[in-house]
């Protein structure tokens, strides 16, 4: 094969990738933040709720986990505005979708963490006279966080990679930028090599940061 790698065209359009990466990070941070709130609230609700609420929350989790993200993205961006009178941009639509999606995964992470907190620690919280709300805030949630940190890191990184799906509704994030360069330069190998490297490096940086937090909390176990 006479294919010679030539990265010049990639560097000429690198702003598309760099800008795309920043947008990917922005989408991930906003969606994960909303997802964490959804996950925490529902997980706390779940462990203290009756059967009906549990069933509803479990239904949400199961629905999201069994439908491909790309379908949800299409449904929310193309489907929802035709049914209800709503208008939103593609990035907003994607953030909405990824938030609800990440919320479902994070409910599971937080719920299993809350249930794994040793009962003895909750008893100790009761014994010194903490109210249920204080026990949650000062005993159960801190204990849950240190239990769930490893699983949380995996989920966060996975969700960051999921931002690439925003490209299917033309959100100009990293993968979309790569596609644009590919269509306009035909340097398919080069552009996807560079893009892969960018995902990889960003993922590693995230992992490194989260591992640091983990190690600090493990020292505190």
């Amino acid at each position: 094969m006479g294919y010679a790698l030539n990265f010049n065209l990639i560097w000429r359009h690198f702003d598309k990738l760099w800008g795309g990466l920043l947008l990917s990070l922005e989408l991930a941070v906003i969606s994960i933040t909303i997802g964490v709130v959804i996950g925490l609230v529902l997980a706390v609700w779940y462990v203290s709720a009756g059967r009906v609420v549990r069933a509803v929350i479990a239904g949400y989790v199961e629905f999201i986990r069994n439908v491909p993200l790309i379908l949800l993205v299409y449904l929310v961006f193309y489907g929802l505005p035709t049914v209800v009178d709503l208008a939103y941009s593609a990035p907003t639509s994607f953030v909405l979708t990824l938030s609800v999606y990440s919320g479902a995964y994070l409910v599971e992470v937080f719920r299993s963490g809350l249930e794994a907190v040793p009962r003895g620690q909750l008893d100790a919280g009761k014994a010194i006279g903490l109210t249920p709300w204080q026990r949650l805030l000062h005993v159960r949630l801190p204990a849950m966080l240190r239990i769930t940190l490893p699983a949380l890191s995996n989920t966060f990184i996975s969700l960051f990679k999921d931002t690439s799906i925003a490209s299917v509704i033309s959100v100009p994030e990293l993968t979309f930028g790569a596609q644009w360069i590919n269509f306009n330069t035909f340097r398919i190998v080069e552009v996807y090599l560079v893009t892969t490297a960018m995902y990889l490096v960003t993922g590693y940086i995230m992992l490194f940061g989260l591992r640091l937090v983990e190690r600090r909390s493990r020292a505190a176990r």
């Binding site: 040793p118 003895g120 620690q121 008893d123 100790a124 919280g125 009761k126 014994a127 010194i128 006279g129 903490l130 109210t131 249920p132 204080q134 000062h138 005993v139 801190p142 204990a143 240190r146 909390s217 020292a219 505190a220 176990r221």
Partner: protein, 264 residues
Amino acid sequence: MSDASNAHPALLDVRDVSKAFGAVEVLRSVSLQVKRGEVVTVIGPSGSGKTTLLRCVNFLESYDSGSIRIDGREVGYREAGTRQRRSERDLAAMRAETGMVFQSYNLFPHLTAAGNIMLGLTKVRGKSQAEARTVAEHWLGRVGLAHKADSLPAELSGGQQQRVGIARAVAMEPKILLLDEITSALDPELVGEVLAVVRSLAEDGMTMLMVTHEMAFARDASSRIVFMADGGVSAVGPPKEILAAETTNERLRTFLARFRASHF
């Protein structure tokens, strides 16, 4: 038992408390009184309901019938015999009046030794951080751990963790301290340091109800010993009487004989 409860009303008054887990009766009409300043030890074979009884006193367990009063106030249920459970807020306030030390220490792993003690002081007693810190340091000093105030539980030995557990309970100035087999999870060489702390609290007049398998300690430190078997109180009396080899109580004699056989 009546001689103990008539002259001064008991600080802890357990009357006819029964509890069943499904078909299993774990407490059968248990009654016992603890006066202010007394140290009462509960002994008995495993499964006799000792720990359950202790956990009922601060309502970590509910009970099906009977009454438990501390300083005249019903613990878990509203007055007037309605069997209506107190609100969570009420229960929390009641529990703050009893201290509990657990077999497995149950320290909060994310908080330092001082932090473990300060949590209740700040959140329940409403003390400032600085006040709470002073109290925490005082009690850590009392249990011989002044130098470990900023250590996390994971950095402490079992005996040290348990002493923090004791400090956490007594720092709240409870009316009564409940000790649930607090040396059972410890390596033998660490038992002494923990019992020394309990002994010094007893000398200070702390009212205590404890479940233990340390017979020598029970004999030396208790005002009275309660022997439980099959969920009921089988014998109550001063240590010398209860631990005497020639007791007429058949069950107690069997228990003591087995105990001696396995421990000496």
